[in-house]
Symmetry: C2
Subunit: 650 residues, 2 copies
């Protein structure tokens, strides 16, 4: 096939959510559209409000001041000058557009719609007659195309455009950006694939974008091309450009890979896209390969926060068990990619472990990437900061959150994730409704003739999740609530009757429901102390503290002036008794854990290396000091200073 | 001052050794010229032989094939084409020339001298009329000069030229390269400094080079410029170029710095040059600042091997105690810079701790950088390699030694260090002779009217160092032998009589000597087990094993097939009883340590993160397996695989 028929966009959106499988897709679960699953209050709602009020507005301005929009105008010939920024500048525009689209779906807003239309016009004007679109390449490359796909990000930008166009079409019904996307996608279909140009982009994401565009338009050519892009990797294409293929997720075929490696964002964007392909093609072999890789990632290459990517150099996954907390790269975008991948694995399989990782990653690897005010971002998310010789200014410059970046991939990526977060709450399956994430809100699902749920919870501070059936549907149907893997000892009642809740499984209740029926799930909110596989050398002899879905840390502003976070030692049995205390005044309102800790002894004396004692020596004072641990996501919202997730044993 | 008088090179070399202080220098000790201190047999002699037979010859060829010499020819106008390689390509030529110069001093060789002359002609031809010389900049920069000193390495190349010219002049007496160096130095003096161009190079080394050129020529202007370059740093010059100054050793003035930071090679080249300046100017304040920084480095930022530089990203020192063994960068060049700095601190102060670090670094951070055959190099020297998912091919590509590098700073740097190693053996001071490093060889010193010593030892395998006085000199004089800081329990005899030897001090014997008098120092060669300051998170709960000056490691080829190095656990008390066994057949002849180790239990099962036990759980089998540990310097001379310096406690 060398050309494709013009697509016929459906007039009604397929689903107002990202990753919306077609009716034919091989999935166990189907998303409930955001807009049908709504977060209406509580923890995440506050973040979404800040995202709407502050971040998306600021992002709109940044696209202008950082030069992204001007680049497109220059490409369109409506402005002159040099294009600015990295080669993938257009992708920031598309991620912002996607965020604005989902945000419009959360709550229609004429101003946001106006921005979407305005920027869509800018994008459309830049597109070449034949559909090609990449402003930086169009201008800097003097019209040359695809000459260095490993680095040029031309497909990467396209993928983000497709995702944005689909989001806007699903939430607004408008086809302006979708028309641009389709024109570009048709150009890609005409240009790439077997017997055409057999090249792949160095940075995956086009795979997810093409599958979503297929879902939105019904044009099978997009799915075919996505499938080809997935299967073309690992066969030496990148190496033909003289580049080392691991970084580009091109060392081994996706079907043969046993773990994740190379650039972490590239790796998980690819696996997320491959999961979309597997779902739409019913490819069990591909799904099995992705399952293997997901298990490889979570068993050897994931921080306790859910963050991924251990290496600053080339932003890569490291070796197995290379998970040093101090230099954790754990890019915010990698956390987002991980959530996207796990979400697709959840849809495909219906297994709670994927929703568990979504939860862990959202709270502890994604959320730390944005300030409490919603306006400043971390690109890199270390799990430890030492007291150092560096000045505060320098430490802040190295590690503080920033309003934007020269490489600004993370901020609009965070925006679009917060805007579409409602979609991760719940799914449907046949005559069932599954609740995966816990937030105050409502779920309307088309199971059993129409089900309506109202969820209320103070999660993550409190473990009680109350689900009231407001629309009871017709006949028997199953309500399933995820009981997180961490929630050993969870209890539940259905209409006042005790039922068994097992950690790591769904609490499944099948019955004929009546409006007003209540399911109450009570998750144990005691302090959990965890340690790592002994092969994680970097945290040997240390433990981390969790409560509910949250990973905690000690941050210097909460410690006595004479106790540096570096010198804290802990005893596990003592930590288990730590009290939680909700502090509405602190960091936007957090539950702190009052940890009894010990002061390290002798740390400040002696040479760097010294004769070893027969047994690891006693290094802590016997008495305890009570210090509040804060949720890790909330760190670095005060002065930047020493912080630790992993606490050495006394 | 805007110009300088032409220098009058002294006809007789000042000292046939690097870092040769003038008679006026404020130093406690003075080098014995290499050629007067000679390594004639044993451990280091074998390495020097390989360096002479293989490396320097190969290096000569590489300068041609990698394009370094061609670059100079293009700059000279005697060849055409594009210059190749990084901006500092000339420096590889100069480091090789320096190596050849010192090598000629070790043993005159007409072929080597021929190469020196040939390449000197190539260099001289490229030099501009006014003395400027930098082939890559001359060609690529189209004649522009010093437009981007933070990155251009123009002074860096000059510094290496000066060191080479001085070496060749000291050992051959020939002035060809010295003339080039003087012409370039005069150009620098005319161009840079107060009231002239007030800029500094992003990569120090010109400071050492200028001081040495001052020592060789007597031209004070070179010392003045070196002093200005040292003092100009830390005042915002690099920041004016829009660059973050830490990396370039330009964040704080040298006199105010309390530790080392930024790019590790830059940092220690600067401090070494500053130590030269302090010696020649008698600047006690500067020396005190350098002492503080050296203490900062050794107390918080040095690997147990002596290696420095924890970060792959930007090749930097990390924070205090950021010393992860798996990702240790520990660049070979940084080890060399550390040796150069410590050597200069030793000359300035006469304190054994500096010679201790020279020893530790030479054996365990410098030597691992070159293969046993002397022909392949490590740029990066990790202290640990895990069994990983990566293929052997990939692991080898990432970590194997290579014959050369695109950025080939390390190979010729290693060559010049091995060629000049004799110089680090001994010093003189008034009527004393000090022996700092232990190798079979001879020392002629001009103390007491002429002293001659013959040293014989099987160091580092055996701890006995026998020093025979062959030329007894006149009257009383003092022989001082360094007793390493690690050598608790050392014993000694002088002419058969016991004397006290104290670890970390000189064994000082003042007497009227007779030819045939023997001092015998016996260093304890038991296994030493060391642990790190508890603030070194990355090796918490682990110990390292040393014997004599050597740090040991476990490498997979020496382990049973069913025991991966990652899974070894140790008990300190058991390790202390480990037997040493000399294996002439293994790795060029090494003493292995037969370590009783335990097998980790349960490591392969369970999730990555798990509920923590109250006490760190028993994780090792009770029975021991005896496995040979090899000296760390010898690793990666067989197949590349798992390796560990730090062994977790059972």
């Amino acid at each position: 096939m060398t050309t494709t028929a013009p697509p016929t966009p459906s007039t009604a959106p397929a689903a107002v959510a990202p990753a919306a499988p077609t009716a034919d897709a091989a999935v166990a679960l189907r998303p409930v559209p955001s807009g049908e699953a709504r977060i209406t209050g509580g923890f995440w709602h506050e973040r979404q409000d800040a995202n709407r009020r502050q971040a998306i507005r600021t992002g709109y301005e940044k696209l202008e001041t950082a030069g992204n929009l001007q680049n497109l105008r220059i490409a369109a010939g409506t402005a002159t000058g040099e294009v600015r920024g990295p080669i993938f500048m257009d992708s920031d525009v598309y991620k912002w557009l996607e965020a604005a689209g989902w945000e419009y779906g959360r709550e229609p807003d004429e101003e946001v719609l106006g921005w979407i239309r305005e920027i869509t016009d800018v994008v459309a004007a830049a597109q070449a007659e034949d559909g090609y679109l990449d402003s930086v390449q169009q201008v800097r490359g003097n019209g040359a195309r695809y000459v260095d796909l490993p680095w040029s990000h031309e497909h990467y930008c396209a993928g983000h455009l497709f995702q944005a166009a689909v989001a806007i079409h699903r939430t607004t019904g408008e086809t302006g950006l979708l028309d641009v996307a389709v024109k570009l996608a048709d150009h890609l279909v005409a240009t790439f694939g077997p017997g055409r140009t057999e090249e792949v982009d160095g940075h995956p994401v086009v795979e997810m974008g093409l599958v979503e565009l297929y879902r939105e338009t019904g044009n099978r050519a997009y799915l075919d091309l996505a499938q080809w892009f997935v299967d073309a990797r690992g066969h030496g294409i990148i190496e033909q450009h003289g580049k080392e293929p691991t970084y580009f997720s091109d060392r081994v075929p996706v079907r043969e890979a046993t773990t994740v490696e190379g650039h972490s964002v590239r790796a998980v964007y690819l696996t997320a896209g491959a999961a979309d392909v597997a779902a739409e093609t019913g490819d069990a072999e591909l799904l099995a390969a992705l399952t293997r890789q997901w298990e490889g990632m979570t068993s050897t290459k994931t921080y306790v926060t859910g963050g991924i990517g251990a290496r600053w150099d080339f932003e890569q996954f490291g070796d197995h068990y290379e998970l040093g907390p101090d230099r954790a790269y754990a890019e915010s975008c990698a956390a987002i990619g991980s959530v996207q991948w796990s979400w697709r694995m959840l849809l495909a399989t219906g297994e709670t472990r994927y929703a568990d990782l979504v939860e862990r990653t959202l709270y502890n690897a994604f959320l730390p990437g944005v300030s409490l005010a919603g306006t400043e971002y971390f690109y890199v998310n270390p799990l430890q900061m030492r007291a150092g010789a560096h000045t505060d200014e320098e430490r802040s410059a190295a590690h503080g959150r920033r309003p934007w970046f020269d490489c600004a991939c993370c901020p609009p990526n965070i925006m679009r994730t917060l805007s579409s977060l409602d979609a991760y709450l719940a799914t449907t399956s046949g005559d069932g409704v599954q609740l995966h994430q816990f937030a105050t809100g409502t779920v309307h699902a088309d199971a059993a003739g129409g089900v309506e749920l109202a969820v209320s919870t103070d999660y993550p501070w409190d473990g009680t999740v109350r689900v009231e059936v407001r629309g009871a549907g017709e006949g028997e149907w199953e309500l399933a609530l995820r009981v997180p893997g961490w929630a050993e000892g969870a209890t539940a009642t259905v209409a006042g009757e005790d039922v068994v809740a097992t950690a790591g499984e769904y609490l499944r209740v099948r019955r004929t429901w009546a409006a007003g029926d209540v399911v109450e799930l009570v998750l144990p909110m005691g302090v959990r102390v965890v340690e790592a596989d002994p092969r994680v050398d970097a945290v040997r002899g240390a433990v981390a503290v969790e409560r509910g879905p949250l990973v905690y840390c000690l941050e210097q502003p909460d410690l006595p002036a004479d106790l540096v976070a570096d010198d804290v030692r802990v005893r596990v049995a003592e930590l288990r008794g730590a009290r939680a205390e909700h502090r509405p005044d602190l960091l936007g309102g957090v539950s702190v854990l009052q940890l009894p800790v010990h002061r390290a002894l002798g740390a400040a004396s002696g040479p760097l290396y010294r004769p070893a004692a027969d047994e690891a020596p006693e290094q802590a004072a016997p008495e305890t000091v009570e210090v509040p641990a804060i949720p890790y996501y909330a760190w670095a919202n005060r002065e930047i200073g020493p912080m630790r997730v992993w606490l050495p044993r006394a």
